[in-house]
Amino acid sequence: MLNEFSNNTISLFLQKKKKKGSFFNFSLTTFSPNGKLLQIEHALKAVESGATSLGIKASNGVVIVTEKKLPTTLIDENSVKKIQKLNDGIGVIYSGLGPDYRVLISKARKKSQQYFKQYNEIIPVNIISRKVAGIMQEFTQSGGVRPFGVSLLVAGYDHNGPQLFQVDPSGSFWAWKATAIGKNSSNSKKFLEKRYKPDMEIEDAINTAILTLKEGFEGEMDEFNIEVGVITNDKKFRILEPEEVKDYISELNL
């Protein structure tokens, strides 16, 4: 068995076969003796050390916010857009590795168009979350690839009302009323537990989200180093302009 295994790899090396970018036939994510998938645990660590992102589901909408921590002031912050739209009615934010996020957004957008092509219906939030989770799971079980180093927060409004989903590197996904990911996520979640009310309206939720972000923020928070995305019952996801964000921040400072 072992000889066949090593023969296969040697023959693969010699033939220089390339299938869809993955060189190996075998998965690099394997079980450890205590039943854990260490690669996924390490991926979650990468998420935990990423910039904080959080989301709150209100009774009439969803808000997602993130820290836009740029390594130097020389970077043009206008070119960096962390919050992205998957389609008109769904927005996403992440914590973890930016390039992995970009690839996932590309794949997710394509899936959502394919769904529309097949069913002539705008993809529901739980279905796109499930599909993205499926993609992430594939990369924990396919040959020659590593898991994605991001957790996503998917915010949308469909016929089931406002919804907020988290998708993890393992491929698990679940819905939240309010949550935080990345640095300080546990402190932020404790803060949110005290402040969250199920009948919260979207304006209240936006204020709470920005306040929660401020709690763990290193340095001064202004309209250029955070991003805020909102969706209400008009079912159009909107990323707030810096002027609007400035208004919310100044309200909190009063």
Binding site: K81, R109, Q113
Partner: protein
């Protein structure tokens, strides 16, 4: 997973069948249409008739021939209905993906290029003749696309079996300084001309007016041609006794069944248990 495109595996067999076995090739169904587009000072007006034909029969007297490519880019289609609907549908999805990826609203010339490249790949076998019009950040644009993949950019366009009738009206009435109302009325008259003078076109007139960040769809703006004047009121009623009875024969098909009181028998069964 299926690969895209056509499968020519049966080509040899088909050629042999036709030549040696005298096999009669089924005729492709052609659909007639009149579609028109006109540029005016602030934007573009697209017009279409609403008749879908299958040979000599009107398959759909009120179909929609003006398709959405994006919010302010619309496309009228002539030819095979399935081809126009699916082609415009696919390019619409590709354009949305592109617009999300670039963060910009889509341009008419991008839709044009996607459509013409797609149709050229199929060398005319996809029978979609399109009038593409829209307003993007560079202004109003109007193009015509032939099934083989060639395109033209013109101030006024007509396509479909009724294009000659419509073009006659456009040539007479078009002037480069038209406003919105003049353009709408010109397109309306052109489509009406197609409906009246071409057998393959008919039904109602649909109009679509696109200006900067505004789109108005006038569905069935003119229905004078689709009201049939001499239609008998339904349902057809005949006086009883109008059909003369010549013979009567009665056959017993089913023996009448005795209905036992169900509930009583069930209770009896339970008590026995």
């Amino acid at each position: 997973m299926q690969k895209g495109g056509f499968n020519f595996d049966l080509y040899q067999r088909n050629v042999e069948l036709i030549e040696k076995n005298n096999y009669k090739v089924p005729k492709t169904t052609k659909t007639g249409t009149t579609i028109v587009g006109v540029v005016f000072s602030d934007g573009v007006v697209l017009g279409a008739d609403t008749r879908a034909t299958s040979g000599p029969i009107v398959a759909d007297p009120n179909c929609e021939k003006i398709h959405k490519i994006s919010d302010y880019i619309w496309c009228a289609g002539a030819g095979t209905a399935a081809d126009t609907e699916n082609t415009t549908g696919m390019i619409s999805l590709q354009l949305e993906l592109l617009s999300l990826s670039t963060g910009r609203s889509p341009r008419v010339r991008t839709a044009l290029t996607l459509l013409k490249n797609f149709l050229f790949r199929y060398h005319g076998y996809i029978s979609a003749a399109l009038v593409l019009g829209g307003v993007d950040f560079t202004g109003p644009h109007l193009h015509m696309i032939h099934p083989h993949g060639s395109t033209s950019t013109l101030p006024y366009i007509s396509m479909g079996s009724g294009s000659l009738a419509a073009m006659a009206v456009l040539e007479t009435g078009y002037n480069s300084k038209m406003g919105e109302e003049d353009a709408k009325s010109l397109v309306h008259q052109a489509i009406l001309s197609g409906i009246l003078n071409d057998l393959g076109s008919g039904g109602n007139v649909d109009l679509c007016v696109i200006k900067h960040k505004s789109m108005e769809f006038f569905r069935n703006v003119d229905t004078t041609n689709s009201k049939r004047k001499f239609r008998k009121k339904l349902p057809y009623m005949f006086k009883s006794g109008s059909t003369k009875i010549l013979e009567k024969e009665i056959e017993e098909k089913m023996r009448k069944m005795e209905i036992v009181n169900e509930k009583e028998s069930q209770i009896e069964e339970l008590e026995e248990l």
